[in-house]
Amino acid sequence: MKKKLDFPHIMTVVIIIAIYAAVFVAEQTIAPTSMLFTVLKKGATYALVAVSMNLLNGFTGIFSLGQAGFMLIGAYIFSIFTIPVEQRGIVYQYYNGGIIQFTLPVVIAMILAGLVAALFAFLIGLPVLRLKSDYLAIATLGFAEIVRTIFQWDKLGPITNGSNMLRLFPTFNDFNIRNAEGNVVVYLSTLVPMIIAGICIGIILLLINSTYGRALRAIKDDEIAAEAMGIHLASHKQIAFCVSSFFAGVGGAMLAMYQTTVQAKSFTTAMTYEILLIVVIGGLGSVTGSVLASFLFVACSEWWLRFLDQKQYISGHEIPLLRNGFRLVVFSFIIMIVVLFFRQGIMGTKELPDLFRKKKTAEGGAK
């Protein structure tokens, strides 16, 4: 891809650098317990997973619902290989410390997490990618459920710790730089995950803008026509599926680091649905949209709408309806409104540079 350094692209680069710089400054100045960082960390994780799902659903037209399964694989592989050896006795308490008695560096473990997820994707892709849209969706969904059960089987306990929690592996907070006394000198626990997500999304963007990416879009628009143009359907779909799963696996590893514990039980279809809704809200076929929607989605559910779950009083009067669960009701109505009335989502198929193309749009909208 030839990089055209025109105005829109320069603006995009400037905005991205500005966001990273702002995050760095915020981390050094605002208390680390602020919800802002929770949202940024989880948002970065979801952004990566949402973009990887968008690669399939938005760009290639493969309707896959297996994302939670691949995230599970990634999260497990990552945590299994990074729990410090001396802690394994505690974590694998019912399995005599497990059978894996070494650790890998965090970065290697993350890459491995992606690779194993991609390997599973390759194997499952062989039979199921031949299926048509909804059948493929339901088959991948079923695959995710099967994976979830296998990882919970207690006969695999020495590796997976059965259905019990994996924990005590490195988390985002371990990216902070500490001095000899153990006090944090430079806070990086939010910046690093955002950089990791940024790099991964950058790689996906490169793929989308390559000849491969154009072939994928052709498949989405019309499979038969694409095949007639000489695009090998099976191999292109397989590559898209594996790449998407690779990054879902990396995203799973990030989720593990965010959550500080991993348990197969939590990687349900509901998680896949949540990510799919993010992709739709952002706009099927827009990487920028997926990223924006992830941060908005996480911010709303974790932070901005939290007050709806608690009783509130305005000048002594209790506001009706507000109690536990109301947040989710409001949230689901917002989602339904987007799905029904704003079918294009936030960005449609536009990307960040497109915003600077025709006319100068409001800068505020692009954060």
């Binding site: 309707f63 299926l131 339901i138 689901s332 989602i335």
Partner: protein, 307 residues
């Protein structure tokens, strides 16, 4: 050996009948709209919750059941009108996402109303009683379910094959556009489908929750998914196929739960393997196998892609 397997078989037939009643809703909607109605399992759950609240209000139980079935049918109708009808011309993925959105909304609404706690389903006399058959003791509902299911399916097949509405349904599922040109009221047919599907899910919910007694917002998710698998397994779009698929899945799932002891008694394994946890996974494995081997399911018609 028979005495070992029989109780599992009985549980399987019972739960299979309940899945069948849900599966019909999936298969009919798919047949006509080519839509996986992900919210159908949640309609089933809502039927249970509505029943809990109605019984708590002190109405006589028979009236509760009647009103509950009516309410469920209305909910199904309303969902179609609000969430699917506006998207009729949109890409299929949009409607499916809308279905996921509806499912999410229903679950969250119920979470909010119930406070996220298990609700105890009212005890319906007679079918909640225990009876003993052979080597198994169970509730009467276990025996009633398959009989009622088959009766309802018979009635439904008669409706589809021998009435005007049924003919319209068949026509619409064959060719959406042409039937519209032929003067068939498409929206009426689709609404009828949703009403019938939801009504049957309502019946299924009465039977299911009488057996398993508690309802929570996630109660519909797994049965819904399994019923869908059953519909695909039997050949989506085919009512008898969905019923057969549902019974197969119900039985298979319960046999897996008892597989350890069955294999143990047959002398094939020496100690339990913890295989019971694969009861759900097996359903999905079965699904993937059938999709790969025979994508149209056991009774499905072969469809031809038009360019």
């Amino acid at each position: 050996m028979w005495n070992t397997i029989f109780p599992y078989l009985l549980s399987g037939i019972s739960v299979g009948g309940q899945y069948a009643l849900i599966a019909i809703g999936y298969t009919m909607v798919y047949g006509i709209l080519r839509l996986i109605n992900f919210a159908h399992g949640d309609v089933f759950m809502v039927a249970g919750i509505v029943m809990v609240y109605m019984a708590a209000s002190g109405l006589p139980l028979w009236l509760c059941i009647v009103l509950d079935l009516a309410a469920t049918a209305i909910i199904g109708f309303a969902i179609e009108r609000i969430a699917y009808k506006p998207l009729r011309t949109a890409p299929r993925m949009s409607i499916m996402i809308s279905a996921i959105g509806v499912s999410y909304t229903l679950q969250n609404l119920v979470l909010y109303i119930t406070g996220g706690l298990n609700q105890i389903y009212p005890k319906i006399p007679w079918i909640s009683d225990s009876i003993t058959i052979g080597s198994a003791t169970t509730k009467v509902v276990t025996v009633v379910t398959p009989i009622l299911t088959i009766l309802l399916v018979f009635a439904l097949v008669m409706l589809i094959n021998h009435t005007k509405v049924g003919m319209a349904m068949r026509a619409v599922s064959k060719d959406f556009e042409t039937s519209q040109l032929m003067g068939i009221n498409i929206n009426g047919v689709i609404s009828t489908t949703f009403v019938i599907g939801s009504f049957l899910a309502g019946v299924g919910s009465t039977l299911y929750f009488t057996n398993y007694t508690t309802v929570i917002q996630t109660s519909g998710a797994m049965p819904g998914l399994k019923a869908f698998v059953a519909a695909v397994f039997g050949g989506i779009g085919s009512v008898p196929g969905a019923v057969v698929g549902a019974f197969i899945i119900g039985i298979a799932e319960n046999i897996i739960k008892g597989l350890d002891i069955i294999l143990f008694k047959a002398g094939l394994i020496s100690k339990p393997m913890g295989l019971a946890i694969f009861s759900d996974a097996f359903t999905f494995a079965l699904l993937i196998i059938i999709l790969v081997v025979k994508p149209t399911g056991l009774f499905g018609e072969k469809s031809i892609d038009k360019v």
